[in-house]
Amino acid sequence: MASSLRQALLIIIAAAVLAVATNSFSPNRIPWVGSWPSISGSDSIIVPPSYEEGDPPFISLDDAAAKYQSRGVVFIDARLPADFAVGHIKGAVNLPFDYLDQYYESVLSEYGPSDEFVIYCSGEECELSLHLGRYMMTKGFSKVFVFFGGWREWEKARLPVSAES
């Protein structure tokens, strides 16, 4: 029994070392301590009536939180800069759909078609995220997701937020 335990401990240490090694270099690496919604049952996907065939896929709060763990997934806030300044998902970039022409080039020029995006706006009543998602897909971005629960759901779940712009 003692030798079993010793072997088991060795195996777990080896696994931890390999996990550290891969998670330091993998393109899919995630933070060791992540942020997850503090409310449960956020698994449902909210989809607006205006959803059409071919629109970017909609994701739930849980999915958004999972994608948030992945480095390399870009969160885009489609609301007005004034709303963005009050509070937004930490690390998100602001691309207000109402001022698309003004912002589009400067925000998206550094990304390519293989990059992954999660777009959100304030919540269920706001369709800016859907419109921006549709527009980005016409521009050749294929990995575009709409998190329709938006800012309100994110904030309610006490996930990381930021107020500076």
Partner: protein, 151 residues
């Protein structure tokens, strides 16, 4: 069942290959896509938020190492102990969520959410797996191992 039957070298080898193969296969998808697996771990609602990612990152490597060790016959006692505890943990985690009434994604073999099935199916599968790992715990066969003295 008598001892001779339990300690049969070939039977033990076959069970080792099957269980080892299952765990190696189960680990690969999780290692490749840690964020999706972490989301599944989160969905079990059993671990505090701060431990979810650590668990999701290390567990698949434990599965992979134990699976390989079991097949080649190295540090088998430790591997078999871990695998028994793991399967027991899976069964407990699934049972808790069965009684909570939530149908969670298993995250057993794939992180794809398309692989929907019921908790009962996962439980039955894990109980079958537990039978195999318990057998390995009992069997005293020492053959077909790179390090026979390990057992």
């Amino acid at each position: 069942m008598n001892r001779k039957f339990l300690d049969n070298d070939y039977m033990t080898l076959i069970v080792r290959l099957v269980v080892g193969g299952i765990f190696i296969y189960a680990s690969l998808d999780k290692i490749a896509t840690p964020a999706q697996f972490a989301r599944i771990v989160y969905n079990y609602h059993l671990l505090p938020s701060s431990l979810i990612n650590i668990f999701a990152l290390v567990l698949p490597w434990v599965e992979l190492i134990c699976g390989i060790f079991l097949i080649v016959g190295f540090k088998q006692k430790g591997s078999i102990l871990i695998l028994n505890l793991l399967v027991l943990t899976f069964i407990v985690a699934l049972t808790i969520n069965l009684f909570r009434g939530v149908n969670i994604e298993c995250g057993c073999f794939t992180v794809s959410s398309k692989a929907k099935s019921s908790i009962i199916d996962f439980l039955l599968r894990d109980i079958g797996l537990l039978a195999l790992t318990l057998y390995l715990l009992i069997s005293r066969s020492r053959r077909f191992a790179v390090a026979a003295s390990d057992r």
